[in-house]
Subunit: 179 residues, 4 copies
């Protein structure tokens, strides 16, 4: 998982504490796939973040981050949307708090669809319509809006971090937009 | 089911044709439960329509109507929302076209939770956030906004047509707002 | 849609009556994707029916059929599973009556993902684990069990009738088995 | 949350380590509501565990337990079903790994529907059909099977630990069995 964006509440856990927690427990994440809808609710575009990974490769990802102790899932989702898309994105948070998909990230490749070399993370995934203008923070290079067809393509899904191409396809399937 | 509101395209089926269809097939409906959300997506209010039924009793119902031949579910949903809530309701149609609930209405009471003495109807049910102002058409007396607790109460659910109290409770459960 | 299997209750609607209904209303269908699960509930195989279409081409499809007047969705699902898979398939019908996907079939190609030249049909789609042995009726040539990867491949999805490759991919996404 | 049943792998975390983790992170749980289905998939009974809580009161709960580091959600679900229902329960694990409901437990009452004085826990909740015979471990007094009506009653839901009456009602709503 790639929440290398600086956290607005960095003091909640020190690096050591986070490392210890990662050695003991699965870490709870939320992830959001930003979408643009037309007036009838049909998806027109999928928003993917461009980012440079630790190997200086350009990769794609979605909005992602940890749920803090004492924080509701809904608040964590809002916090990470604001962190990754800026304050003017006006995301429409889901009325239904049940995720459309649960992504399980394991450190060793081959344990499943999703991988994260830092930790075992379990991520509650949401589709979030965005109505405003997005302004990713500086560590994300760009937010690109793609058509459903482009977002589902082999080229794009192969560029996504940690196997998240499957997550994008699952979102498109849920939206009735995956052929 | 209670779509006694005049249809904007009355010519699509004559009364005779509709009657014949009802004798032969289950009739496909869409239903929508209007909700108000706060900035984090949490439900604050449920919208229920007050209506006078054929026995001149005041009853409650939700947005409801048939899917026409050649019409997409999404378009039918939009059409009935506009018909029942007026043009300024600004409903946010669901990105996910899968209903949260399927209600099966049978003519004979006792065949299940939902009843409709006119027909066998199968209804795809959606939760629809509404951001504008609602102005029900004249045959609906009023749209009332209730708290989740009030909407789930015995008093309110017992006033709902055709067993739709169960539909309201199912919606609240889906929203994480049914205790 | 391809329910050309002879219906066990052919008298419910004459051909003329069915034709009339098709000219007036969307027709309600159920569809089921048979799957084999391992002991932990993970999908191991997807069952697809081979069939010869009106042009004598071999095509693939899923379990599919109409909901009759007065029939519950659950009963229609069971009836068509038995019709298409035989009496020893032992399907595990879903406890949750909400479909995982709604497929809208229109007569004209280009109106959406799914097409059916006979009618406008709206289909409630379910994933149904099957534990017994399947014995398709004579008009279906065979039931073939495919791995999730094979079922999602371009080759297989392009052979499916009416755009149902998208339905298979949506099912795999829901099962966490679409990469 | 009430997983006071002895864990089959107690060595995974010492009490101290668990306590430290609880002070730092939300703890990931799975919960399962055992159900009996008829041949058409309709729920006939809901299984609730009777247990004596720390105040020596008899309370009701559902199958519940932590997800361990490195463990898949599906494996955790299976492990806790076996722990709480015994080896002959033959649970049918869900093909769809998405929970039907997410329950958020906070230590302070009033922070939401669900409460757990030990920790902030986030629980992925599943409905699990059970076909065999259940034999709860000694620390659970009994597994009782209730009709959907009885399980949804005020009497029963008020006896459930941590607000889980709402969880049972949400399950019944999802099964189309909550009036």
């Amino acid at each position: 998982m790639a929440v290398r964006t600086p956290d607005p509440n960095p003091g909640w856990l020190s690096d050591d504490e986070l490392q210890q927690a990662r050695e003991r427990m699965p870490i709870l994440y939320v992830e959001a796939i930003p979408v643009r809808l037309d007036g009838l609710g049909q998806v027109t575009e999928i928003g993917l973040l461009l980012r440079m990974n630790a190997q200086s490769e350009i990769t794609r990802t979605v909005v992602s981050g940890r749920v803090m102790r004492g924080e509701r899932v809904r608040d964590a989702l809002y916090r990470h949307l604001e962190k990754d898309l800026g304050p003017m994105a006006f995301p429409q948070l889901p009325a239904d708090p049940t995720p459309f998909h649960v992504a399980e990230y394991f450190p060793l490749p081959g344990d499943g669809i999703y991988a994260d070399d830092r930790q075992h993370a379990v991520s509650l995934c949401y589709i979030v319509p965005v109505t405003g203008s997005c302004d990713p923070r500086q560590d994300a290079l760009e937010l690109t809006w793609l058509s459903p067809e482009a977002a589902a393509s082999e080229l794009v899904t192969s560029e996504m971090e940690g196997g998240r191409g499957a997550l994008v396809r699952a979102a498109l399937a849920r939206l009735g937009a995956l052929r």
